[in-house]
Subunit: 344 residues, 2 copies
DNA sequence: CTGAAAGCGCTAACAA
DNA sequence: TTGTTAGCGCTTTCAG
């Protein structure tokens, strides 16, 4: 409340204030504050002292306008409550740490229209790069990405064309591999449980890949169940009960994410179902929550942190490949069979 | 890659480009694009058409510098993986939705130094307001907040003095109430399990309040255990086992968050411990994951979404109180006894 | 309803 | 090593 001290004035402090207080020209003050160019130690001290004393905070808006450089990287993701995306963010932050770049997050709630709006808003701040989840965008959003004039990295998914660079895994392949492992383990009557969201393209691709994998063995999904909203763990239970009531002969349940898979696992154990003997289970993502469950749910690691790191490296111009854009990085998720798939 | 179309040029499009393309002055183009001032329908159409055609994205940096207004609200939180903070973010986003303001997140990883740095960075973009978790800051950070010249809302906690406004719950009180409920239910030999982080002031305050509540009944904590890092669910299990091995006579375990509490619950159930008869359990936060567990863990709702909403309302100048800063909003968490505290 | 001029606070480029 | 001069792209203000 106080607004006291030397800063009690309309508007924030400017370089000029520091310049006057230190008796050094604005330009030199600017240099000191940016550690640019040669400045004598004496002057440097004077300036720093004055700036500190006044409590000067540089105006990056003006700086950015003048220098045409913005140390921001826009990161556009569907959700923060998904658990997966905060991990991607960690990877990005880690990699950006000592580059001087700062991530700025925008959340779309899996809505293409929100994505378009968020992207527009971000680009209007002229960031140094954009990292955006997914390969599917509205035409307008795609056009913006196309014309952004800065590195654009589409992450999470590599099943499709990308605007500039992409880093992710093939969700089709992930589904396919899981299906093969399941078939190999001898399961034959398989159900799928997932999200209802039509905009969750990656979950959709996993299911498609999964079905393709089953098809190789002449199998088809025997049942499906979808949910939206609410506690995923609870939904996992409920869906599992629903499905097994409807299709009691199933011997495997493939969940589109670990959280509902965990719910299903708990339900099966409580109901005395022999897992993985009578019933096999698998999820997707490799979240660390699984480590605390009574049994380790089979899953497939989605390489989230690594995806974040690699994407950030590209934006920061530090990609190990040395390329400057137009990169396509496909990471390989590892199957973690856990305790819920029979050993072959 | 392509950089094709009318935008294939160095640097991004400017108002001038739209002006030239539409034959309307820059000033009027600006008015159209901001819906400001009266513009004839004909002119408006021409401008919009040209802007759309070119793919013009306004430069907010220049706009902000000229207008001295930035539609950004800085939000500074300790972590994104904590589950709690994404929910606060949702509350903030919801409330800001139709205000024209946009939240920008900064993450501190519970480090005061990081907080200071993140705050500095944010303020250098001259946001319209700041929402920051916690009441404890470095002196420099406190000074920056003090002199920010915009609304500052400290959230999550109200146990202490705040710079401008604050919205949260009393964690001391939360701990106190929980202790009373536990004592009332007849438990007497109580252990505490929590995070090791010395910078988690709210967890610390809950523990202090909890001990004060026990003291009212002439009780003391009989044992404590702390963790850091790793899967919280798993840590909850491990700590529970450790503690019950060390102090087998305990009859209640109070966890500093729901996730480790859930781990503890699972461990107890698997080990045939009668919950809540032989052993009572409680966590904190009221996360919806609890709904999917075999038994409902006792917890206390931390009002996260509401905290986000109220804080955002203050920043947006929409607070129901009509005050302009200097507000102190204490929310009241509700105790949810679940199935892990004996009925009285 | 539309336009011209001035300048937001800073930095690039050049001069001293 | 330091200072001066021009803007960055937009909006404010004021004049038509």
């Amino acid at each position: 409340m106080s607004r006291s001290g030397p800063e009690a004035r309309r508007g924030a402090l400017t370089l000029r204030d520091v310049s006057e207080a230190s008796g050094v020209s604005e330009m030199t003050v600017s240099r000191v504050l940016r550690n640019r160019g040669d400045v004598s130690e004496a002057t440097r001290e004077k300036v720093l002292e004055a700036a500190r004393h006044l409590g000067y905070v540089p105006n990056k808006i003006a700086g950015a306008l003048a220098s045409q450089r913005v140390n921001l990287v826009g990161v556009i993701i569907p959700s923060l409550s998904n658990l997966v995306f905060p991990e991607v963010m960690s990877g990005i932050s880690e990699e950006l740490e000592d580059t001087g770049l700062q991530p700025v997050v925008g959340v779309t709630n899996y809505s293409p229209e929100r994505e378009e709006a968020v992207l527009y808003e971000m680009l209007s701040w002229r960031p140094s790069g954009v990292i955006i989840a997914g390969l599917e965008h509205t035409p307008a959003a795609a056009a913006m990405l196309e014309n952004a004039g800065v590195p654009v990295v589409e992450i999470m998914d590599v099943d499709g064309p990308c605007v500039d660079s992409c880093v992710g895994i093939s969700h089709k392949r992930a589904g396919l591999e899981m299906a093969r492992a399941i078939v190999r383990a001898g399961y034959r009557r398989i159900g799928f449980l997932g999200t209802k969201m039509p905009e969750d393209h990656r979950a959709r691709k996993r299911m498609e890949g999964f079905e393709a994998g089953l098809a190789e063995a002449g199998l088809e999904l025997e049942d499906r169940e979808f949910y939206s909203g609410g506690s995923a763990l609870k939904k996992g239970r409920e869906m599992t009960e629903t499905m097994l009531t409807r299709s009691p002969k199933l011997d495997f349940l493939y969940y589109s994410n670990d959280m509902i898979g965990a719910g299903g696992l708990l339900w099966c154990l409580e109901n005395g179902i022999d897992v993985p003997g009578r019933m096999g289970l698998a999820g997707f993502n490799g979240v660390d929550l699984l480590e605390g469950l009574p049994r380790r749910l089979a899953t497939m690691d989605s390489c989230r942190r690594e995806i974040g790191r690699r994407a950030a490296a590209i934006v920061a111009g530090r990609s190990p490949t040395g390329l400057v854009g137009g990169e396509r990085v496909e990471l390989t998720p590892t199957l973690e069979p856990g305790d819920t798939i029979r050993a072959v």
